[in-house]
C-alpha cells in the first residue's frame, strides 16, 4: 500500500520563510556583539572600501562599515516595522470588526472615513507629521501607522461580514451571547488567521516606505542607521560603490521575502478552503 507521506513540499514556503526568519532573529539578537566595527565611527582613510574579509559588506562614503550599519539598521527597522504593524493592526481590526459586525450607518461612516484616508496621499500626511513633530523614529511610526491601518480594517470588515452569514454565528446569537462575547469568542478567532497573514506580509512594505520617505527627504534622523535610510544613502554611489546600497537592499529584500513567504505559508495553513476535505461521505 504505497502512499506518499504528507509531503513537506506542500508547504515549502512556510519552511523557507521560517528558515529566513530564524536567520534574521539570529542577526537581531547576536548581530551587534558579532560585528566588531562601530556603525557610527567615521574614518575617511577607509572610505568606499569594496567588500573584503575585514569589511564583509565594504565601507560607505564616510568609512563606516556597511555591515555594522546594516545590523543596527535592521534592528531599528524591525522595531519600527513591528510597532507600526501592531498599532495599525489594532486600530484596523477594531474599526473593521466594528463596522463589519454592527453594519448599518456605523459601517457607512467608517467606510467613508477609510475612503478619506485611502484617498489622501500619504506623502502629505508624512510631511505634516514629521514637520510638526520633527523627524525621529517615534514620529515616523505615527506617520506610517496612520496610513496602514486601512488594509487591516478592510480585511477585518470583509471577513466579519463573511462570518456573520455562517450558521454557527446565528447559533451563537440564538444561544443568547452578548454582542461583545460573540465578537471575542467567535469573530476574532475566525479572522485571526487572515490577520496574521496580513501582518507578516506588511513588514516588508513598512521598511520600504521608510526608504521612500528618506528618498523624499522626510526620513528618520541621521546618522543612526535605518535600512530605508541606508538604501537611500547609497543612491549616489550606485555606480562607483554599488555595495553601499546593494547590501541594505538585499537584507531588506531577504527580510521581506522571509516574512512574506512565512505569511503565505501561514495563509495556506489557516485558509479553510485549502484544508484538505479529509472525508466526504
Amino acid at each position: 500500500m504505497k502512499c506518499r507521506k504528507f509531503s513537506v513540499q506542500r508547504n515549502l514556503l512556510l519552511w523557507i520563510g521560517g528558515a529566513i526568519l530564524l536567520v534574521i532573529i539570529f542577526v537581531l539578537v547576536f548581530g551587534p556583539s558579532l560585528c566588531t566595527h562601530d556603525p557610527l565611527k567615521v574614518d575617511y582613510t577607509l572610505k568606499l572600501r569594496a567588500p573584503c574579509r575585514e569589511y564583509p559588506f565594504g565601507t560607505d562614503g564616510m568609512g563606516r562599515s556597511v555591515a555594522a550599519r546594516v545590523v543596527y539598521g535592521l534592528r531599528t527597522s524591525m522595531k519600527i516595522a513591528i510597532v507600526v504593524m501592531l498599532i495599525s493592526c489594532v486600530i484596523g481590526v477594531c474599526v473593521g470588526v466594528l463596522s463589519g459586525y454592527v453594519g448599518g450607518s456605523v459601517d457607512l461612516i467608517l467606510m467613508r472615513v477609510m475612503e478619506v484616508v485611502l484617498a489622501f496621499p500619504d506623502t502629505i500626511l508624512a510631511l505634516a507629521i514629521l514637520g510638526t513633530l520633527g523627524g525621529g523614529m517615534k514620529n515616523q511610526i505615527i506617520a506610517l501607522a496612520l496610513v496602514r491601518w486601512t488594509k487591516y480594517a478592510k480585511m477585518a470588515r470583509d471577513e466579519t461580514m463573511r462570518l456573520k452569514k455562517e450558521e454557527y454565528m446565528e447559533a451563537a446569537v440564538a444561544m443568547g451571547n452578548g454582542r461583545f462575547r460573540i465578537v471575542l469568542r467567535y469573530v476574532l478567532p475566525g479572522i485571526i488567521g487572515q490577520i496574521l497573514v496580513l501582518a507578516t506580509m506588511s513588514i516588508g512594505p513598512i521598511i520600504l516606505s521608510g526608504a521612500t520617505l528618506s528618498f523624499l527627504g522626510l526620513g528618520v534622523q541621521l546618522p543612526n542607521p535605518e535600512l530605508g535610510l541606508l538604501i537611500n544613502e547609497g543612491r549616489d554611489f550606485i555606480r562607483s560603490a554599488g555595495h553601499i546600497s546593494l547590501f541594505p537592499g538585499l537584507v531588506t529584500a531577504l527580510t521581506t521575502l522571509g516574512f512574506n513567504l512565512f505569511g503565505e505559508g501561514l495563509n495556506d495553513y489557516f485558509d479553510p478552503r485549502l484544508k484538505e476535505k479529509a472525508v466526504s461521505d
Binding site: C3, R4, A278, V279
Partner: protein
Amino acid sequence: MEEEQTRELWRIERLQVFFKTRGNDIMAVNEFSLSIYQGERLCLLGESGCGKSVFGMALLKLLPENAEVLGKAYYKGMETVGMSEKTFARLRGTEIAVIPQGAGSSLDPTMRCGKQVEECLRLHEKENSQVCRQKVLSLLKRLELPRLPGIARDYPFELSGGMKQRILVAAGIVCHPQFLLVDEPTKGLDWGCRDKVITLLKKLVEDEETSVLLITHDFNVAKSLADRVVVMYAGEIVEYGMREDVLERPVHPYSKGLLAALPQNGFQAIEGFSPPLDQIPKGCRFHPRCPHATGRCAQEHPNLTDLGEGREVRCFYAEG
C-alpha cells in the same frame, strides 16, 4: 464469457481509495469489487460517511487532488483508473454522466439555467444553438418544470430546491449517456418534491435504458428505482443482491438493523455510530454495534461469501 463481456458495462476489481491528510492516510473505500451490467440500475445504500459517494467519485475520477485510487476498474473493457485524464474526458458527458449531490452549489450562480444544460450538448454534439435550445426545452418539458420557456433564462438563485435538482437531472442526461451516476437525488428535498423526482427519474431511465449507479441513504429511492442493491458500511460492501432479497429479507445484521430503523418498521435505531474512517475497528467493522457479535468477529475480518443467485454477504454467521 464473451457475450457476458459486452453486457457488462463496468468491472471493478479491489478498488481502494486513500486520502492524504496532515495526520495519516485515511482509507475511505476498502477492496471494492463489483460488476455493473448494461441497462442495469444498481443502488449503493448506506449511512452518510460510509464512503459510497467517494466510490462513485473515484469511479469517475472526480476526487480531489490529495486522493489516491488503487485497484482496477474496466469500463467496456477499458481500464479507467490508470487512464489519462484527457482520454477519459472524452467519455464524460456523452457516455458517462453525473447528477451531482449538492443541487444548490453545483449550478454556476452567474449563468442562466438553460445555458448550463445546453452547455453539455454544445460541447459534444456541436449543433447550432437553435437546435440545442429546442432539445433542452423539450427535455425540461419532460421534467415538468413550470414557467417554460421563461425558466430557462432564470438564474439558479431564482429557482427552488426541487427545480434546481431537476435542472441537474436535465444537465446529466441531455447527451443520452450510457452510464449515469446519480448522487443523493433526494437529499435536502421536502417530501412532495422527493416523490416527484423519483417518479421522473424512473420514467426517464426506463425510456433511455441507461444503466444507473444510484447512491442514496433513502430506502424509498432504492426500492422504487434499483434492480440490485449494495449495502455499504464503513467503506466496505457488507451485503448485495437483488432488490427484493436485500430490502425485504436482509441477511447481514447491519441491513436488518437498517430495515428495522425505518419509520414503518417501528423506528428501532441501531445503537452507537458508524466509526469515523480513521478509527476503523479490527475484525468485522460492524462488530461493536452488532447484537450477534462473537469473539471471532472482533478478531477476524470476514470476506464476502457467495450465497448463490448473485447474493453475497460479509458475515460469519449470516449464511442462511
